[in-house]
Symmetry: C2
Subunit: 100 residues, 2 copies
């Protein structure tokens, strides 16, 4: 089976995030107030071929830790979003997609 | 109330993603097979102050479309993960956090 997997790589708490800080400073000038703690990380999507959902999550976790992140300064979070259609479309995931 | 929000910004289908292609090519050399369609995007986390969860999602969507993405080549997906504790910790979210 094929599983859609989302790997989120984000800076650990306490690691400075200049990009997030810059976004946060820009928001009031655009009229957005009440937004804080902006942190910018990476979102890597992939399709994993595995027999079971647990196997897909394990493989994606290993990839995330070995190739996609720097464990000294970054945390990773792996989410299996569901099984992917064979043609490689996107499975339904949580949240509302905008501007499709 | 304060809401933890995740904004995922990803390249639209059909837009070339050299970073994702490079990761995909590197995987077999590390012993990972059966992984495809690797796409690299951004994951922006923020805490939004709003009265209702719908308001938080709307504000975050506007920020995502106006400041965080280029709508010509990118899609955004906004997910409200839950209400954030006042001290600014992280609310429980789906998926397993690794390497905390």
């Amino acid at each position: 089976m094929r599983f859609d997997v989302l790997v989120e790589v984000r800076l650990r708490q306490g690691i400075a995030d200049p990009e997030g800080a810059t976004i946060e400073r820009a928001l009031p000038a655009l009229g957005f107030t009440g937004i804080g703690q902006v942190r910018v990380g990476k979102a890597i999507r992939m399709v994993v071929e595995a027999a079971r959902i647990q196997d897909a999550e394990q493989v994606a976790s290993q990839v995330a830790l070995r190739l996609l992140s720097n464990p000294v300064i970054e945390d990773v979070e792996v989410t299996v979003l569901g099984s992917a259609p064979a043609a490689g479309g996107q499975a339904a995931a949580g949240g509302g997609a905008i501007g499709q």
